[in-house]
């Protein structure tokens, strides 16, 4: 498990995070939500060493991340990043997923059949096993995100972090990807923009505003107009259709 407490982060002159805290919950999907610039992605990046906080500690299984090698961090945490675009690199889906096995092999070692099996298993779980030889650049947005998740599965870490995995996806793929994340049933933290998706797919929500955690709890407790309106500066209304509740947004009345 990962636990971050008292995280202060300064990037340039800007205080991005101040005293933020976050932790995984066993087998659950934790959603990290908040307005643009509230520090969601930065907090997530602190959890795998991409950013080093100025103050506070990140513990992975009770070990401080600062004293761990990047390789041992990656054995515990896999990440669906925003930058894995493979722009201009004509890498195949199979090779890409296989690279998730790097943490389990020394630099000098080649990948073994076990690694290839793990990669294939990852692709099977996301229903992409027929795409091994396909170029990553020729996939649709939804297929690509599933491949990113397959790579995390191949990495076999007990925690998965996802940084806005539904960006640029149409509604069908948004649901498909998050359904998949839920099915994995491993400790997950996901940064989400869409509050309705957060409500539907997360077990626990953490609301960030201006670098601080301002509210957290079950989706019903967080996604309330009295909590969201001051943070987003917009009118929030809860609509229920019997099965699910939806949030509707509109400008605040002057």
């Amino acid at each position: 498990m990962i636990a971050a407490t008292g995280i202060d982060l300064r990037l340039g002159a800007a205080d991005v995070l101040s005293g933020a805290q976050l932790c995984t919950r066993s087998g659950q999907v934790v959603g990290l939500i908040g307005p643009n610039g509230s520090g969601k992605s930065s907090l997530l990046r602190c959890l795998y060493g991409m950013l080093r906080p100025n103050r506070g500690v990140v513990l992975i299984d009770d070990e401080a991340i600062g004293s761990m090698s990047q390789r041992s961090i990656a054995r515990s945490v896999s990440v669906v990043t925003q930058d894995a675009s493979a722009d201009g690199i004509d890498i195949s889906v199979g090779e890409f997923v296989l690279l998730g096995r790097h943490v389990h092999r020394g630099d000098h070692q080649g990948f073994t059949d076990d690694d290839r099996k793990a990669a294939l298993k990852g692709l099977e779980l996301v229903d992409m096993s027929g795409f091994v030889e396909r170029s990553l650049n020729h996939l649709s947005g939804g297929e690509r995100q599933r491949v990113m998740i397959a790579r995390c599965i191949a990495q076999q870490s007990p925690v998965i972090l996802l940084d806005e995995p539904t960006n640029h996806l149409d509604v069908r793929y948004q649901h498909e990807v998050l359904t998949l994340v839920r099915r994995l049933k491993i400790d997950t933290i996901v940064v989400l923009h869409d509050l309705n998706l957060a409500s539907r797919y997360c077990d626990h929500l953490v609301l960030l505003d201006d670098g601080k955690v301002v509210h957290q709890g079950r989706p019903d407790d967080v996604l309330r107009s009295d909590v969201l309106e001051p943070v987003y500066g917009i009118e929030v209304r809860l609509l229920a259709d019997g099965q699910h509740s939806h949030l509707a947004f509109g400008p605040l009345a002057p």
Binding site: G27, R45, Y48, G49, M50, S69, Q70, R71, S72, I73, A74, R75, V77, S78, V79, T81, Q82, D83, A84, S85, A86, G88, I89, D90, I91, S92, G94, E95, F96, L98, L99, G100, H102, V103, R105, D107, H108, G110, F111, D113, R116, K117, L120, K121, L123, E124, L125, S129, G130, V132, E133, I153, Q155, Q156, R183, L184, K185, I186
Partner: protein, 359 residues
């Protein structure tokens, strides 16, 4: 039970076609390279057939065959002149190919090439100082090469200092620092030429700037092979880190590779390789840019295939460019940098057009 545990069964898709699928291509490339090297040794103003070339080499190395079965001049030309020259071309070509691949991955830019870090400008400045002003003449017979090497290291130190001044090394910071240092040192070299007032010296520096394998000899080859060989082995050792760096810093980090540290290690290795290459053969352009591109088209982007393929193609390009350099205008010899530029530019343009097409 989680889904991960529930589906612990054998995958239904075959994993064939992942590993080793590029092996025939790589073996073919290696064979073509070896044959090319042997044929190239025989080519020149005085031609020697490949079987004779092999016999002369076997005679010198293992004491096989009688020396009477070929002419004395042939023996001298092959063993004293062409073999060291082609061997130098082979190692420099492969090093430039590997360095090009490495730099393109670590700065994530397909236009990166071995000289982008200012290393060759530094080497040129060192060599010009030695040729024109005799600086470093106390270093002995190889003072020009040694000064070039020190110049390369000095340039690298400057680039790293500039690129690191605000924290960790990023691709863009490294590119800008490299370009800035290149310009600065080129200006210094021009100033040296201006102040030297020596037409002959200026011509010597120019010949050196354009690159040549003509100075190859047995005394400097071993150090070149060890220096560049170690560099290439290290790059291959870190081949998977290159795959991950090419995919982006976050992906690398998430896969257990610290991009800043890895980049620093690789840059130092690369600069040493280029330092050896430039100090032994001058600034030979284009190979380090074109070999990786062509290799990528043949074997794809995975570095365990790309590194050997680019090494083989770099060797092929340089060995044949050298054949052209010594045969095109014989008995005069062209600087090899001119040949690689004249042949390489159209090839690159064609490549880029094709790339645009496929995009």
């Amino acid at each position: 039970m989680s889904l991960l545990e529930a589906t612990d069964r054998a995958p239904t898709t075959s994993s064939a076609g992942w590993a080793g699928s590029r092996r025939p291509t790589l073996i073919a490339l290696t064979l073509i390279t070896i044959v090319s090297v042997v044929v190239a040794i025989g080519l020149g103003p005085i031609g020697v057939s490949p079987p004779t070339v092999l016999r002369i080499i076997a005679h010198h190395m293992f004491g096989l065959f009688e020396a009477e079965s070929w002419a004395r001049t042939e023996d001298a030309i092959i063993w004293e002149v062409r073999l060291p020259r082609v061997l130098l071309g082979a190692i420099v070509g492969s090093a430039l190919g590997v360095v090009g691949v490495t730099l393109q991955a670590i700065v994530r830019n397909p236009l990166a090439e071995p000289y982008i870090l200012g290393v060759s400008s530094g080497a040129s400045t060192g060599a010009a100082a030695a040729i024109l002003f005799g600086i470093g003449s106390g270093l002995g017979a190889e003072s020009v090469s040694l000064m070039a090497f020190f110049g390369a290291l000095g340039a690298l130190a400057l680039v790293l200092a500039l690129a690191r001044s605000t924290g960790r090394i990023t691709p863009s910071r490294m590119l800008v620092a490299g370009v800035a240092v290149s310009y600065l040192l080129s200006a210094v070299t021009s100033l040296l030429i201006l102040f030297a007032h020596s037409a002959e010296g200026a011509r010597a520096v120019m010949f050196w700037l354009l690159g040549s394998l003509a100075n190859a000899d047995w005394s400097t080859l071993p150090i070149g092979y060890v220096g560049m060989g170690v560099g290439m082995v290290l790059v291959f050792w870190w081949r998977r880190r290159l795959d991950l760096l090419a995919l982006g810093d976050e992906t690398a980090m998430a896969s257990g590779v610290d991009p800043g540290r890895t980049r620093l290690l690789l840059v130092v290795v690369v600069a040493l390789c280029v330092g050896f290459a430039v100090s032994l053969s001058g600034g030979i352009g284009f190979v380090g840019l074109a070999a990786p591109h062509i290799a990528r088209r043949i074997v794809g982007p995975i570095h365990r295939h790309l590194i050997p393929a680019s090494a083989a193609l770099g060797t092929l390009m340089l060995v044949w460019a050298d054949v052209a350099a010594r045969m095109a205008l014989q008995p005069r010899e062209l600087p090899i940098g001119v040949v690689t530029g004249v042949v390489g530019a159209p090839v690159l343009v064609a490549l880029v057009r094709k790339l645009n097409h496929s995009n």
